[in-house]
């Protein structure tokens, strides 16, 4: 195997694209304690994939639609104020995952379920690369344009409102962006591991930096290193690619966490 084989280059390109947007959005997931939301969103993606395969449209598009529907239903139920959000998420996420599984089985869709659940970055096609990069470009553009408002809203929602931030719109935007990130990340690390790509790099970056921008950039870089390391590991040891990327990210976290602890202690 050669590192410059087209399929490996495609895998690297896909992985880096995903790492950059997941690292950035992941910061908001960490700041706003949305980890469970991200996980649930990913669970509902399976329903989207089944939908796309059943009616013959791009599974990226159908995943975005399914995840958006999921997010809107959640918003609607949240406003009813009947149950705590994590309870609602627990109900919705697993219902969506199960409906997706049933749909795949009943409709006898020919799916490599394993590759959707754990990702299969080495089989990414050029069209999929387009999805990742167009989606990723949109996500980054929106984040950059709305950055100050998003960060201020995250620090203090009432303060942001008083300073004329449209908090309702920004919340919706963040949900939409997360949906896109989940949809384009599925082929890289899979439904079950997406939230780790959101959380681990951002969490690793937390104590290495002292500004929100630096944290987003560092998380993107760490995610990229994890992707490269994971692909390399996967090829050398013939391990599954998605889990290899996540393990690399977790190792980076462990090493840098110990490292930053030492730094913190020396500073105090």
């Amino acid at each position: 195997m050669n590192m410059l084989d087209p399929f490996i280059l495609r895998a690297i390109a896909a992985g880096l694209g995903v790492a950059i947007i997941a690292g950035t959005i992941g910061c908001f997931v960490v700041w706003r304690k949305m980890a469970y939301f991200g996980d649930s969103l990913a669970h509902s993606a399976l329903l989207g994939i089944a939908l796309g395969l059943a009616i013959g449209i791009s599974t990226y598009l159908s995943t975005i639609i399914a995840c958006l529907a999921f997010a809107l239903i959640l918003l609607w139920l949240q406003q009813k104020n009947l149950l705590a959000t994590d309870t609602l998420l627990g109900i919705l996420a697993h219902a969506a995952l199960s409906i997706g599984m049933i749909a795949i089985s009943v409709l006898e869709l020919r799916v490599n379920l394993h590759s959707y659940l754990f990702g299969d970055i080495l089989t990414v096609t050029s069209i999929e690369l387009w999805w990742i990069y167009l989606g990723g470009f949109f996500v980054l553009l929106m984040i950059i344009l709305n950055w100050p408002s998003l960060v201020l809203m995250t620090i203090h929602e009432e303060l942001a409102k008083a300073e004329n931030v449209n908090v309702y719109f920004q919340n919706l935007l963040l949900m939409l962006l997360m949906t896109i990130v989940v949809a384009v990340s599925i082929r890289t690390v899979g439904i079950l591991l997406i939230s780790s790509m959101l959380i681990i790099p951002a969490a690793t970056a937390r104590h290495l930096v002292n500004s929100p921008v630096a944290m987003a950039i560092t998380a993107s870089i760490l995610g990229s290193v994890a992707v490269l390391g994971g692909i390399f590991l996967s090829m050398e040891l013939d391990t599954p690619s998605g889990p290899s990327i996540v393990v690399t990210a977790a190792l980076l976290f462990a090493i840098l966490f110990a490292f930053s602890n030492i730094i913190l202690k020396n500073n105090n």
Binding site: V30, S149, T154, I155, V165, N210, S211
Partner: protein
């Protein structure tokens, strides 16, 4: 005297409950108004309506054109998951140049904590930082929602002393919700006692003799902060009794 904000007979009704009922209030240049009232009296809602963040069901709020408002929220729970320094927070979404930022920082006396992370600040330091942020766009009106509620006594004292100094040195008006009336007594020009409707209003010395005020807060000024559950000897005619 021109009016900064004028609210005319505003009512906020939620599920047949009057949160605010026919409240009229006028904020003029150099006013220092303190709103007091028990929990659930609609104080925060009144602030929202006045700042234009909530459209009351009835009545109207007129603001002076391009009125610059600085807002200081009740408290800021510091979020340890986000790395941001005081300086970074003061720059966020603000167009001030470094010079004017530095002036405000000096004025509030937070230069020593400028490079500290927000998450390590004490309650008093956080309120000062919020105060500094609210002053960055040279507001004509400061709106404070129980700004010292989570501070200890000495923290409250120094915060109010700072606020008083700012009121004297800057050309602005202040609208504040506060229960620490004994601390702001000297500077407050007008007290509005709110319990879904305006019970009474006026100078602190006058208002403490008002029977409605006494029925809401008891005779003893010192008791004021703990008298949220008081007995009514008169009917407020509120449809829902919200205070717990």
């Amino acid at each position: 005297m021109t009016s900064l904000i004028n609210a005319n007979n505003i009512s906020v009704i939620r599920q047949t409950k009057h949160i605010l009922k026919d409240v009229s209030i006028n904020i003029a240049d150099r006013d220092f108004i303190t709103i007091i009232g028990p929990n659930g009296a609609g104080k925060s809602m009144l602030l929202k309506c006045l700042m234009g963040l909530y459209q009351p069901e009835k009545g109207s709020v007129t603001k002076r054109k391009n009125l610059k408002i600085g807002y200081i929220p009740q408290r800021m729970t510091s979020n340890n998951s986000m790395p941001i320094t005081v300086h970074g927070f003061l720059r966020l979404r603000k167009k001030n140049n470094e010079n004017s930022l530095q002036n405000t920082v000096d004025e509030i006396g937070i230069e020593k904590i400028l490079n500290k992370s927000l998450s390590v600040l004490s309650g008093g330091e956080l309120q000062r930082v919020l105060l500094a942020r609210s002053l960055l766009n040279d507001p004509e009106l400061l709106v404070l929602d129980e700004p010292a509620q989570n501070l200890d006594i000495s923290g409250q004292l120094s915060f109010y002393r700072l606020l008083e100094r700012i009121y004297k040195e800057r050309n602005l008006s202040i609208l504040m919700v506060s229960h620490d009336l004994h601390m702001v007594m000297a500077s407050t020009m007008q007290v509005i006692c709110l319990f879904n409707h305006i019970c009474c209003s006026g100078k602190p010395s006058v208002i403490t003799k008002d029977p409605e005020f006494i029925s809401l807060f008891g005779n003893d000024m010192a008791n004021m902060m703990s008298v949220y559950q008081h007995e009514h000897d008169h009917d407020h005619q509120h449809t829902g009794n919200e205070h717990a």
